[in-house]
C-alpha cells in the first residue's frame, strides 16, 4: 500500500484542509474502527490512474451529507437528492485533486477520474486490502477507503 494510515497520508491531510477551508471545521480520526453506522450512505468512488492506481471511496452517511449541504448552501435539506449528492461528489473530487497534487511532490504522478456517485446501504467499515480512515467532524462522521498500488 502506497499510503500510511494517518501520518503523511495525503488524503487525510487533504480532507482536513478542505473541511477547514470550505466549512471552517476540524476533523479528527475516530478511535473505533466501526464504519458509519446503519444510515443510508452517499458513496463517492474516485479512480486514480498513473504511478499509483486504484480507487478512493468516500462514504458520507445521510445525516453528515445533509449537515454539509446545510452548512454550504444555508438551505435545509431532508433527502439525498441529486443536489445533495453532487455537492458531496464535488467535495470528494476536490479532496482527491488536492491529494494527487501532494502525491506529485512525492514523485507519484497520477490523475483522477470523475466521481462515481451512488446512494446505498450503510458502509461496512472495512474493505479488503485498503487503508481505512474513520473520521469525525462537527457535521458528523465519514469514512474513506483508500486502495492504491504502485507501478512496479
Amino acid at each position: 500500500m502506497a499510503v500510511q494510515q494517518w501520518k503523511d497520508n495525503p488524503f487525510f491531510d487533504a480532507t482536513k484542509e478542505v473541511f477547514q477551508s470550505m466549512l471552517d471545521m476540524e476533523i479528527s480520526p475516530l478511535p473505533e474502527n466501526g464504519g458509519t453506522g446503519r444510515e443510508e450512505n452517499v458513496r463517492v468512488e474516485i479512480a486514480l490512474v498513473g504511478d499509483l492506481s486504484g480507487t478512493v471511496v468516500y462514504n458520507f452517511p445521510k445525516s453528515t451529507t445533509l449537515n454539509i449541504v446545510k452548512a454550504l448552501s444555508g438551505m435545509d435539506a431532508d433527502q439525498l437528492d441529486e443536489f445533495a449528492t453532487s455537492m458531496l461528489g464535488e467535495m470528494a473530487n476536490i479532496i482527491s485533486g488536492n491529494a494527487v497534487t501532494a502525491l506529485s511532490g512525492q514523485n507519484y504522478q497520477c490523475d483522477i477520474k470523475p466521481p462515481q456517485i451512488t446512494v446505498g446501504s450503510a458502509d461496512s467499515g472495512k474493505y479488503c486490502d485498503s487503508v481505512d480512515l474513520q473520521l469525525r467532524a462537527p457535521v458528523g462522521e465519514m469514512c474513506e477507503h483508500i486502495r492504491l498500488s504502485s507501478k512496479s
Binding site: V18, L72, S73, G74, E82, F83, A84, M87, E90
Partner: protein, 137 residues
C-alpha cells in the same frame, strides 16, 4: 449563501464574488423551492442565464486584474476558469437540448456551488496572499 469568511481582502474581487454568489443563490433558490418543476422552469432558465453571463464576466474581470498586477499564476488560474466555464456552457447547452431535466439541473447546481466555494476560499485566496506579499493592492 455569501459569507463574510469568503472575503479574500481585494475589494474589487470581493464585491464581484458577492454578486456571483447572489446570482448563484437566486438560481439555486429557483430550483429548490417547493412546487412543480414545469412551473418553476421559467425562473430556473432566467436565473441560470443571468448567472452564466456573470460567471464569464467575472472571470474575465478577475483575469484582467491579475494581468494588471503581474500575477505569476495567471496562466494556471486562466486554465481553471476556462475548464469551469466550458463545463457551465456545456451543461447549459445540454439542458436546452434535453428540455431541462430536473435531476440533471439539480446535479449541476450542487456541483456548481461546491466548486465555487472551494475556488474562492482556496484558489482565489492564493491570489490574495500574493497581492498582500507584493503590496500590489
Amino acid at each position: 449563501m455569501w459569507k463574510e469568511k469568503y472575503k479574500i481582502g481585494i475589494p474589487l474581487v470581493d464585491q464581484q464574488h458577492k454578486e456571483l454568489f447572489d446570482r448563484v443563490e437566486e438560481f439555486i433558490k429557483a430550483l429548490r423551492k417547493p412546487g412543480d418543476w414545469t412551473e418553476k422552469l421559467p425562473e430556473v432558465k432566467k436565473t441560470l442565464a443571468f448567472m452564466q453571463k456573470y460567471v464569464v464576466d467575472h472571470f474575465a474581470a478577475e483575469e484582467a486584474y491579475q494581468k494588471k498586477i503581474g500575477y505569476p499564476d495567471l496562466p494556471a488560474h486562466h486554465e481553471i476558469h476556462k475548464n469551469f466555464t466550458d463545463y457551465v456552457m456545456r451543461c447549459a447547452h445540454d439542458f436546452e437540448q434535453e428540455g431541462y431535466p430536473e435531476p440533471e439541473v439539480q446535479k449541476f447546481a450542487g456541483t456548481l456551488l461546491a466548486w465555487l466555494i472551494n475556488h474562492v476560499v482556496a484558489t482565489d485566496l492564493k491570489m490574495s496572499k500574493y497581492v498582500k506579499k507584493e503590496g500590489a493592492l
